[in-house]
């Protein structure tokens, strides 16, 4: 095991979060994303599903529905209910997390639901329910934003009509600098964390949270940086959704071309 892994295990604060050359703890530049990978349709049982890897984050999202809502008195007469559950599995963090939903998880479920609702045409399916499950398999900072990113892909994969995909990323302040896509250490020991979710084609923000203290200029800079990151993630989302069908097309064309 490398020494860097051990230092994370003990959760020691690194002496410097940004070194003299402007590199961050994992070697990234301030405006650099961690590598993103999205896969679509990973769960056969779900109507729609997606898997995202953002650096060391590994998250799976599953969508079921629209389906009949039970108990029936919870149904809304004019639109579908989006039920959202964000959950971290016990082995997703260094110290075992109790599998019961914590205060934080319950709050994040609500926040994620509210970030996704504006993108969905819920009024097309009155009196029904859409279930969304986000399971964090491995966490390394920025799981709510990665969860939103995966969830919106899963919703699109389920064939639910949407105004736009929702892409999300966190920005923050580390050693006085505005940086993109905080990792766990930066989140813990930095000065601020600001998750942002957007519908990129429409240019609308659906989630904006922040802790820490920022000047108005810093907020402006942070939002610009977040938008840049979101555009990159959005591209990955779109490619992932198309890939499934384009690959099948290639396969069929090859098979048919041979005959």
């Amino acid at each position: 095991m490398s020494s860097s892994r051990i230092s994370i295990r003990k959760e020691q604060r690194p002496p410097k979060l940004i070194d003299e050359e402007g590199r961050r703890v994992d070697g990234r530049r301030p405006d650099e994303l961690r590598p993103v990978k999205i896969e679509v349709g990973v769960l056969k049982n779900a109507d729609g599903s997606a898997y995202i890897e953002l650096g060391r984050n590994k998250i799976i999202a599953a969508v079921y529905g629209p389906k009949e809502l039970h108990p029936k008195h919870l149904a809304l007469p004019d639109r579908a209910v989006l039920y959202c559950r964000y959950h971290m599995v016990p082995f997703s963090v260094m110290e075992r997390k109790s599998p019961a939903p914590s205060r934080r998880e319950i709050e994040l479920s609500k926040v994620i639901r509210e970030a996704l609702e504006p993108a969905l045409f819920l009024e097309y399916f009155p009196r029904t329910e859409i279930d969304l499950f986000i399971e964090v398999l491995q966490a390394d900072g920025g799981t709510r934003t990665a969860g939103i990113t995966a969830a919106s892909v899963a919703l699109a994969d389920a064939g639910i009509p949407m105004r736009d995909l929702v892409a999300a990323i966190a920005v923050g302040k580390v050693e006085g600098q505005i940086v993109l896509d905080l990792c766990d250490i930066e989140d813990k020991y930095g000065e601020g964390d600001m998750p942002v979710a957007m519908m990129p084609s429409l240019g609308q923000i659906t989630l904006l949270q922040a802790d820490g203290v920022y000047t108005p200029e810093e907020v402006k800079k942070a939002l610009e940086l977040a938008k840049k990151g979101i555009m990159k993630i959005y591209e990955v989302q779109r490619e992932a959704l198309k890939k499934k069908y384009i690959e099948l097309k290639k396969e069929v064309e090859e098979e048919y071309g041979k005959k």
Binding site: P66, K67, F121, P126, D157, Q237, K259
Partner: protein, 230 residues
């Protein structure tokens, strides 16, 4: 007037399809003169209207639709029917028999029991109440032979083909009976079990490859190559 897609290109939700005085058709929405897709599907421009054909869809009943349902509950005067939709349908006894029956003396289980598949027509549906079905029309009633296959309802138009070309092709080549429900359930029957099985395979192939051009030719080839012995 600018188009941002080629004909039958795969598009995703939120993708800008066009700018200008185009008409928004199915599965798109507009903000001013910008037209965006709302689903993963194939974009199409026809008569100045932009449509997206979805690759996956949820079945929402509409009056007049022919559907294949499964009885999930039997009541005193009605049946509950699963029609592969978020809305469970109701079949009332008055919509099931040409002559009125006395429900105090007869058990509805005699006619349709739990687990039975029925071919029915949607009578009414306005989204505020569950849809009502009828089996009074010709061709409706209980299914007592053959098999029922389930596919995504978005692929139903491809199974039927242009003016029913695909379905009549399969019917004539394999000598099978097929009834396609709008809800994505398809009834297949033939005296020859092998033909039945092969038809199911064809239907699954159409579902899988519906978005790839040259589908009819591939299906024709499959039909020509097959040897079905009795």
């Amino acid at each position: 007037m600018v188009l941002y897609f080629s004909q039958r290109e795969i598009v995703v939700p939120g993708q800008l399809l066009a700018k200008g005085p185009y008409k928004p058709g199915n599965n798109v929405f507009n903000v001013g003169q910008n037209i965006y897709s709302t689903v993963v599907g194939l974009a199409e421009l026809k008569n100045n209207t932009i449509n997206v054909i979805p690759l996956k869809r949820t079945y929402v009943p509409s009056p007049g639709d022919l559907v294949i349902g499964k009885i999930i509950n039997v009541g005193v005067t009605s049946w509950q029917v699963d029609i592969a939709s978020p809305y469970t349908a109701i079949l009332q006894a008055s919509d099931a028999f040409l002559k009125p029956i006395d429900v105090t003396k007869e058990d509805l289980r005699k006619y349709f029991d739990v687990g039975d598949y029925i071919i029915a027509k949607v009578l009414t549906f306005d989204r505020t109440r569950d849809p009502l079905l009828t089996v009074k029309e010709a061709g409706c009633g209980r299914i007592d032979k053959g098999v029922v296959v389930e596919i995504n309802p978005s692929k139903v138009p491809r199974i039927i083909g242009r003016k029913g070309s695909m379905i009549s092709l399969i019917k004539s080549k394999l000598n099978v009976e097929i009834v396609v429900g709008k809800n994505g359930r398809i009834w297949v029957y033939s005296k020859n079990p092998k033909a039945e099985e092969f038809t199911v395979r064809i239907i699954k192939k159409i579902e899988r490859e519906a978005h790839i051009s040259g589908l009819t030719n591939r299906i024709k080839k499959m039909l020509e190559e097959v040897r079905l012995s009795e």
